[in-house]
């Protein structure tokens, strides 16, 4: 019974959604994103292969390719060839 309960808890815990945008850099060089969150405009550098968690409550980012995209705050983003792929 204990096993069953712990399995259920584990299931629920794993199924809980992660709720801030996660950016993964798939390129071989570091990517610099301009993140506008709230009042501030800041630059976030993500090293090659690195992952960063940004803006839990919605923001705008400018990718190295020059595209601007708005994020709700629950997306998973990959940087491929300097441009963002939202999953």
């Amino acid at each position: 019974m204990k096993t069953l309960v712990s399995a259920c808890v584990l299931t629920v815990a794993m199924a809980l959604p992660a709720w801030s945008a996660t950016v993964t850099n798939k390129d071989s060089e570091a990517a610099v994103l301009v993140v506008v969150e709230g009042e501030s405009r800041m630059e976030v550098a993500i090293s090659a292969g690195g992952t960063e968690t940004i803006c839990p409550s919605g923001c705008f980012i400018t990718t190295p390719s020059g595209d601007r995209i708005g994020l709700q705050g629950d997306e998973t983003i990959e940087i491929v060839n300097g441009s963002a792929v939202v999953k």
Partner: protein, 842 residues
């Protein structure tokens, strides 16, 4: 856990009212959708952004206009935050188009390098067009970005303004000197004249031109209040009535009477105030200059009633048996009086402040009025330290009391001095705030505390049964002890929820928070709680649970309907019926679970990971459970036995009662219930006496001496078998000469029965008949002469019982001693073998 759930549920139902307001915004946004379908996503987004820009400009204006109005600012902040969210949503909507463009551009490839052959004109043009569109979208997103920054700035600006407003109100310093007092005096005469004129003119106007409306508004609100008062009095009578008792009532009774006798009249008064204001407003009797006066008067009345009923409830100056705190009669009277006086002074201060505001009197007047009010409150506080309310243990309450303990009286003096000093040194706002906190927040906290105590006391085991309410419920509805206890628990939890939901917002309002703030918080608490990077929505989880419960109920209902109406009438085999029913049950609950989980906001795609983790778990700990579960499913499909069958597996034998997920319930002949794991039925061989039909063979061994004629014995046995009504004619009974013993011959009578479950009874009848016929016909005893050595039984009650039984039964019983044990111990090794002996030996 339970109380939390209740709290959540109640909050949900309370704030359900505010949800539609918020739900309106998307609806408004969705309205222009059909028109916009023709327009490109960019045009649509541009339109929305333009609307957002206008909205922000409007909000900025409104914020400028309302920079002194804290309540309005709080509402505006909610709007600004919603606008910021809307802006982000707008730009998110352009993302798919951008992705499409990027994908198409990637397909087209880079423009040809210098010197390379030029590409087709179509391609170049398309690339140009796509790039232009990409630029357009980026520009749009840039605009959205700017707007979003602007909205956030606006929102933060509001917060800063509100903070400044609050500290200004509290820490505003005015020099107090003689000239100010003189100015105030002069202003006071003017204000008095102005207010008399205003109120008088309004009254004349209302009486002459709006008489009907005025009277009907008052009449309607009085009706509402009376209905409420009469209803609550009838409903809560035992809770709020203080009987004249000679002896002290129970603690819970006193607590709950104190709590409810404060709450009920205050609520009635609040309803009266709210409805009369509403009706006066609705009938257009109020004028803009009179409305604030009326509203503050009504509010002060409610607050006064609250404080005075509370002090009366706690101190009960006239009925010492109902007093909650142990103070002397004189002390209680003086305390109640001074608390009431403080409340009156504080209320008048607010009333006078509003009058000055409405009449546009100089600020000094308000300052001087508040100064006087706070000084009076300070003096009352200091005077309270002189009251002698303490009653030494053992003394009666009507005697002369002792003074306060030193710490308490020092506290009174100290707070009085602080109030007066703060007011005199010019911090009138602060002093007034502290005075209000002492009176109102103090009263609210005391009520809350009493409410909590009541809840706790009512929730105690069997506490409710001893109270007036408990006795009333018992008499009126005939509730049992257990039901009363459960009612008490529910009532206790309900009181907790009520206290928390009602008083915490009240205290927050006292501290200068606005209703819009509290609503926004509550909304956020129920829709998204952020823990680290995880967002939890209580409403979502509750919705998930509700959906699951709904799905469960529907499944059960469908199961019952299918089983009772469809399958019962189409004469489906019970085994199939059971299987279908159980299968539908699993399916329905699984579906309801899935729906519930997705409604609760859990991401099922993450379950892939969980499945990986689980498969490891299955490998180790869950192996048995899963194997039993799967075996259960196989049992349902293959149906080697159904409910009601007589089965034998391993050491277990009996009737199948229920086939469930993990195990099958078997009831032995002695009514012992055994849970057999389903995998046992799949992995081991299972015997089923009643699989296809209930036909079965039952054997009775008979031993006679060599004096008898074997043919005659066999004929007699067959005659006996044929005479029994339950023995089948076809297949016909057989009598077989099975063995030569040293002194006896062994025969066996084999009979077929339509229902093998009756085997025991039939064998018993046959043995009796055999004994009687053999004795009559002198065939010799149908059993060996020498006493058989019984098989060694393990010593214990069973062996003893067997011996006794054998003794009591006499010679007849010895025919097959083992047969007797069969009846008693279906699960023992011996009887099972006997069954095999008796039936299966061929």
């Amino acid at each position: 856990m339970m109380s939390k759930f209740f709290a959540a549920f109640l909050c949900l139902s309370m704030f359900a009212a505010s949800v539609p307001v918020m739900a309106q915004q998307p609806a408004v946004k969705a309205a222009p959708q059909p028109v916009a379908e023709v327009a490109s996503p960019q045009a649509q987004a541009a339109e929305q952004l333009e609307a957002a820009r206008k909205n922000l400009a409007r909000l900025t204006d409104q914020i400028k206009n309302a920079k002194d109005d804290d309540g309005r600012l709080a509402e505006l902040k909610v709007e600004v935050d919603a606008a910021a969210k809307q802006i982000i949503a707008t730009s998110v909507a352009t993302r798919p188009r951008l992705d499409e463009i990027k994908a198409r551009l990637a397909e087209l490839g880079d423009p040809p390098a210098e010197g390379a052959p030029p590409e087709a004109d179509v391609v170049a043009q398309e690339r140009k067009r796509l790039l232009a569109e990409r630029g357009e979208i980026n520009a749009l997103t840039g605009t959205a970005e700017d707007l979003s920054i602007q909205a956030t700035k606006l929102s933060n600006g509001i917060t800063a303004t509100r903070r400044a407003l609050f500290s200004n109100a509290l820490l505003k310093h005015t020099d107090i000197n003689g000239s100010i007092v003189m100015d105030a005096m002069a202003a006071l005469t003017l204000e008095l004249r102005a207010s008399t004129r205003t109120v008088g003119s309004w009254l004349t106007f209302a009486w002459n031109f709006k008489r009907l409306q005025l009277l009907s508004a008052l009449f309607l609100s009085l009706c509402a209040a009376l209905v409420l008062l009469a209803g609550t009095r009838k409903l809560f009578f035992p809770l709020i009535h203080r009987e004249l008792l000679s002896e002290e009532p129970g603690y819970i009774t006193r607590l709950s009477v104190a709590f409810w006798s404060t709450m009920v009249p205050t609520a009635a008064m609040a309803v009266f105030a709210a409805t009369s204001y509403f009706f006066l407003q609705a009938f257009k009797v109020l004028r803009p200059d009179i409305a604030p006066l009326i509203s503050i008067t009504l509010a002060v009345c409610v607050a006064l009633l609250f404080v005075s009923t509370l002090s009366n409830a706690v101190l009960a100056p006239k009925q010492s048996v109902w007093r909650l705190v142990r103070v002397s009669d004189g002390g209680a009277r003086l305390l109640a009086l001074s608390i009431f006086a403080m409340a009156v002074v504080n209320g008048l201060d607010y009333l006078a402040g509003t009058v000055s505001e409405v009449m546009g009197s100089p600020v000094v007047l308000t300052v001087v009025k508040s100064l006087i009010a706070t000084i009076i409150i300070g003096i009352i506080l200091m005077a309270m330290s002189l009251i002698k309310p303490i009653v030494p243990a053992g003394d009666t309450l009507d005697g002369q009391g002792k003074p306060w303990p030193r710490a308490v009286s020092l506290l009174f003096v100290f707070s009085g001095i602080v109030l007066i000093l703060a007011a005199l040194s010019g911090y009138v706002g602060l002093a007034r705030f502290i005075a209000t906190q002492i009176v109102m927040t103090g009263a609210i906290l005391v009520t809350m505390y009493i409410g909590m105590l009541t809840g706790k006391a009512v929730a105690k085991q069997n506490a409710l049964a001893d109270t007036i309410v408990g006795r009333y419920l018992e008499k009126r509805f005939g509730l049992e002890q257990v039901a009363l206890d459960q009612t008490g628990l529910a009532a206790g939890l309900g009181i907790y929820v009520l206290v928390v939901l009602f008083f915490i917002p009240l205290i927050l309002l006292q501290w200068g928070f606005q209703i819009a703030d509290i609503e926004a918080w509550a909304y956020r608490i129920f829709t998204d709680i952020n823990i680290g990077s995880i967002k939890i929505s209580i409403v979502g989880i509750l919705a998930g649970i509700l959906l699951f419960a709904g799905g469960y109920v529907v499944t059960r209902w469908f199961q019952r309907w299918l089983d009772g109406n469809v399958m019962a009438r189409s004469r489906v085999d019970t085994g199939v019926r059971n299987s279908v029913k159980t299968g539908i049950g699993y399916l329905g609950i699984g579906l309801a679970g899935l729906i519930g989980i997705s409604a609760a906001g859990f991401d099922l795609s993450n379950l892939a990971l969980v499945a990986g983790a689980l498969s490891l778990g299955v490998g180790f700990g869950l192996q048995n459970i899963v194997s039993n579960f799967v075996s259960g499913l196989i049992l349902l499909v293959e149906r080697p036995f159904k409910v009601g069958d007589w089965v034998v597996t391993g050491t277990t034998e009996g009737f199948v009662k229920r086939i469930s997920v993990r195990a099958t319930e078997i009831e032995t002949f002695q009514r012992q219930t055994i849970m057999v794991p389903n995998s046992l039925f799949i992995n081991a061989s299972v015997g089923n006496w009643t699989h296809k039909n209930k036909l079965g063979r039952s054997d009775i061994p008979v031993t006679v001496s060599y004096d008898s004629a074997p043919r005659q014995v066999m004929d007699t046995l067959l005659q006996i078998a044929a005479a029994h009504p339950l023995v089948l004619k076809n297949p016909e009974p057989q009598a077989v000469f099975t063995a030569f013993g040293e002194a006896t011959m062994t025969f066996e009578l084999r009979v077929y029965l339509a229902d093998i479950v009756n085997g025991n009874g039939v064998r018993n009848d046959l043995r009796l008949a055999i004994y009687e016929r053999f004795k009559d016909e002198g065939l010799g005893a149908p059993f060996p002469k020498e006493v058989l050595e019984p098989e060694p039984l393990p010593p214990g009650p069973q062996a003893d019982a067997l011996a006794q039984q054998a003794e009591a039964a006499g010679p007849g019983g010895v025919a097959s001693p083992a047969e007797e044990t069969f009846k008693r111990s279906g699960t023992q090794r011996r009887p099972r073998r006997v069954t095999v002996d008796a039936v299966g030996d061929d």
